[in-house]
């Protein structure tokens, strides 16, 4: 045991500090080499011409916001409202004392969490094939709200369930001991507190839904109904340039990054409160 300290330094000549410095130096060197190679290989003129073409970008400008972003927001919010209501209903059904309600809710959640959102949109788009007279009220807007709502409801139901379970048991006991029937206690006491608890994850769900709204593209929309992804795609084919897609992408980030930031802030604030 006493021999080890004397043998170790002789085998490894470098001190830990020196080894760390050399390691870091190697990482920086690699980074510089990669950057220099990329910079010398890339055709900057062509890249600017195709991805950062200001003329092409300017052409879409008013409509990017007045039509595409506006529709994206409409699709997202209407889908969110449907998902919120249906998700809450499913979460309450999962807690029901009537077993078939629980089974229905669990089955729904399993199925819709397991399906790609795209498949659900394709299914909604093809409903008229099965029922020729069938019209989803609100046209594409109704279909979008339905599709995004069906998808997000499954996730929101799980979130709400966690929120309902996080409300201390004593809250229900206090409400019942004041003579409130079970349903009244849920509505006045438990659900409002559960919703407060799940605000951060629900904000994240809004971010996800905002991105998923791009799937409306598959419903077949008119020029007035176009959202960001389709708008970028259409512009890209018109001008034979990827710039509009990049612009659409940046517009998504304009919303999703601040919203994600808000969600993280809410989350840390809530953690501080508990």
């Amino acid at each position: 045991m006493s021999e080890q300290p004397t043998t170790l330094p002789s085998r490894k000549a470098w001190s830990p500090r020196k080894r760390q410095r050399i390691g870091r130096g190697a990482q920086y060197t690699l980074l510089i080499v990669v950057a220099v190679v990329l910079a010398s290989l890339a055709d900057w003129g062509a890249i600017r011409q195709s991805f950062f073409n200001t003329q092409v970008a300017a052409d879409g400008l008013p409509r990017l916001f007045t039509v595409a972003l506006k529709n994206t927001v409409i699709y997202t919010i209407s889908g969110y409202v449907v998902g919120f209501a249906l998700g809450m209903l499913l979460a309450l059904m999962r807690q029901s004392s009537v077993a078939p309600y629980r089974w229905t809710a669990s089955t729904y959640i399993e199925i819709f969490r397991g399906l790609p959102a795209l498949v659900i949109f394709l299914m909604i788009g093809s409903l008229p094939l099965a029922f020729p007279g069938l019209q989803v009220p609100g046209g594409v807007y109704g279909q979008a709200a339905l599709g995004l709502g069906l998808v997000s409801a499954a996730y929101m139901a799980e979130t709400f369930r966690a929120g309902l379970q996080a409300v201390p048991k004593g809250q229900m006991e206090a409400a019942r001991s004041l003579g409130m029937p079970h349903m009244r206690a849920m509505v006045s006491i438990i659900v409002p507190q559960a919703v407060r608890i799940v605000i951060p994850p629900l904000t994240n769900e809004l971010v996800l839904l905002f991105k998923d709204s791009s799937l409306v593209l598959f419903l077949g929309v008119t020029a007035a109904q176009v959202e960001l992804a389709k708008f970028g795609n259409d512009q890209a084919s018109t001008f034979a340039s990827p710039t509009p897609i990049l612009v659409s992408g940046l517009t998504y980030l304009l919303i999703t990054i601040p919203l994600g930031y808000v969600a993280r802030r809410l989350e840390s604030r809530q953690r501080g409160k508990r």
Partner: protein
């Protein structure tokens, strides 16, 4: 007619029998304190009186209504019973005032103005009128418990149930809660109190009930049960509670 009458009450949680045949009454205007070691079933007994726990067998009557009758409207009975919990259980998302008005409005169907007037009166009674617009998290434990008492009182209960109301409080906050309870008792409120506060029991209670291992061991006036217990188990328990440090000397 007794305010509370309990006949041969049994309660089991799975294999564990917590209450083993309780017979017991509370008369109108009485203050009854239930004491006993933890796990003796005293909280379960209290929770059976407003059916937060369902008795396994036996009967519970409140103001002559049998709660254990399956057809009874339990919400209607609970309206007449105030309950104060160890952990306060104030509604965390509502202001103090709203905590006191919500059940008045939703259960007793009082109008907003009337409910608020009654709420302010009861908050005044517990000495917290200036906290009406605070949220529970902004109050100390003692203040929260006094709001919980006000919330129950605003429903004009004919009986108040207290489940170890001071056990979760810092020692310096216990006094305020006990003095509110003492005033209630002086006003003639019928009270059933599960407590470890022997001083309170001795001073305020008309009767003290000592429970151990799911049964009532001794039931009588405080000067008898606390000052001159008949049963060795009562004596042993009181010895430990009243002289927690002296117990090891012998």
């Amino acid at each position: 007619m007794s305010t509370v009458e309990i006949r041969n009450l049994h309660k089991s949680f799975g294999q564990l029998e917590v209450l083993k045949g309780i017979d017991f009454t509370v008369e109108a205007g009485q203050v009854v304190c239930v004491i006993g070691p933890s796990g003796s079933g005293k909280s379960t007994l209290l929770r059976c009186v407003n059916l937060l726990e369902r008795p396994t067998s036996g009967q519970v009557f409140v103001d002559g209504t049998e709660l254990t009758d399956p057809d009874v409207d339990i919400d209607a009975v609970r309206r007449r019973l105030g309950m104060v919990f160890q952990q306060f259980n104030l509604f965390a998302h509502l202001t103090v005032l709203r905590n006191v008005t919500i059940a008045q409005e939703r259960v007793l169907k009082r109008g907003r103005a009337e409910a608020e007037e009654i709420a302010r009166e009861t908050l005044e009674k517990v000495g917290l009128s200036e906290k009406a617009d605070s949220f529970p998290a902004q109050l100390s434990g003692g203040q929260q418990q006094r709001v919980a008492i006000a919330r129950a009182l605003a429903m004009n209960p004919s009986l108040m149930l207290f489940d170890e109301p001071t056990s979760a409080l810092d020692p310096e906050l216990v006094g305020d809660v006990l003095s509110v309870m003492r005033e209630l008792a002086q006003d003639g409120m019928t009270m059933l109190v599960v407590t470890h506060e022997m001083g309170f029991a001795r001073e305020v209670a008309d009767r003290v009930v000592f429970m151990d291992r799911g049964a009532i061991v001794e039931d009588g006036p405080p000067e008898q049960v606390i000052a001159d217990p008949r049963h060795p188990r009562t004596r042993e328990f009181l010895g430990r509670v009243l002289h927690p440090e002296g117990a090891d000397d012998e």
